[in-house]
């Protein structure tokens, strides 16, 4: 499993959601969107030696999705589509559409999505943190 390839291919998968802006690294700074969402593919947490003789490893990758201000009704509505388990805006569906990430891993699963906030310029923004399990 090559972490940079995994992050790049996760980015590609997330970009299939119309309007989703995606970073495959944590940006120094960014403009929080007011009319759509953006996602950050985080660093991988590696667990080595999933199989014998350095065959495969397992990893967990956090994907953070930010939509808009806490007080913004549209942001909350957008989140509903993103955290849905299916549909064209579903993050789980987008990532699991190709469970090998174009051959970068053996398999993966979007395990969970937890709500939270991200603060930028003293403004709280709605966010969700996804946990993606990877084996490869």
């Amino acid at each position: 499993m090559i972490p940079s390839t995994v992050r790049t291919n996760l980015k590609t998968a997330l970009q299939t959601i119309t309007g989703m802006r995606v970073f495959d690294y944590v940006p120094d700074s960014t403009n929080i969107p007011t009319n759509n969402a953006f996602a950050i593919v985080g660093q991988l947490s590696m667990n080595y030696d999933f199989t014998l003789n350095r065959g495969f490893d397992s990893a967990t990758c956090q994907v953070i999705v930010v939509v808009g201000r806490m007080s913004e009704k549209d942001g909350q509505s957008r989140l509903d589509g993103l955290i849905a388990s299916s549909g064209s805006t579903s993050i789980k569906t987008a990532i699991e559409a190709d469970k090998t990430l174009s051959g970068a891993v053996q398999t993966l699963r979007v395990v969970s999505a937890s709500p939270g906030t991200i603060t930028s310029a003293n403004i709280d923004y709605l966010s969700y943190q996804y946990s993606v399990e990877l084996i490869g």
Partner: protein, 135 residues
């Protein structure tokens, strides 16, 4: 040789190396205990009988051609030659190989759970076993 990690065992089925689909492997060599206690013995007496080795494998299943499932399911009810090398690489006096014939007495092609990779756990009776320090 020194103490070593058990995470580099090579598992070769026939001519196919399936090491990267194996999470756990163990070969247990057990000898029957045959009792020969006689009237004049004050403590039970035993001699060694026949050997009954067992190969235990925890595998991640794969339906790809010539991969794990095809190798084992196609051999169900027959015997497969399986070779283990404690540390993948050159066989030597300090890294002996174990070559065995195993009866594929069971196989679980489908084993699903919502939160786990498809895996198979098998315990195979070994019907012939050779330890080698050179191959």
């Amino acid at each position: 040789m020194a103490i070593f990690m058990g995470n580099k065992v090579a598992v070769i089925v026939g001519t196919s190396t399936i090491t990267d689909h194996v999470s756990t492997v163990s070969l247990a060599r057990e000898i029957d205990q045959v009792e020969i206690t006689a009237m004049n013995d004050t403590v039970q007496n035993m001699i060694g009988g026949i050997e009954r080795p067992t190969l235990n494998l925890e595998l991640y299943n794969d339906f790809a051609s010539a991969s794990v499932n095809a190798l084992f399911e196609d051999a169900l009810g027959t015997k497969l030659n399986i070779k283990l090398i404690p540390v993948s690489g050159t066989v030597s006096a300090t890294n002996p190989s174990y070559t065995m014939s195993c009866l594929i007495s069971s196989w679980t092609p489908v084993n699903g759970a919502v939160d786990a990779v498809a895996s198979v756990s098998v315990s195979l009776p070994v019907t012939a076993l050779t330890k080698s320090t050179s191959a």
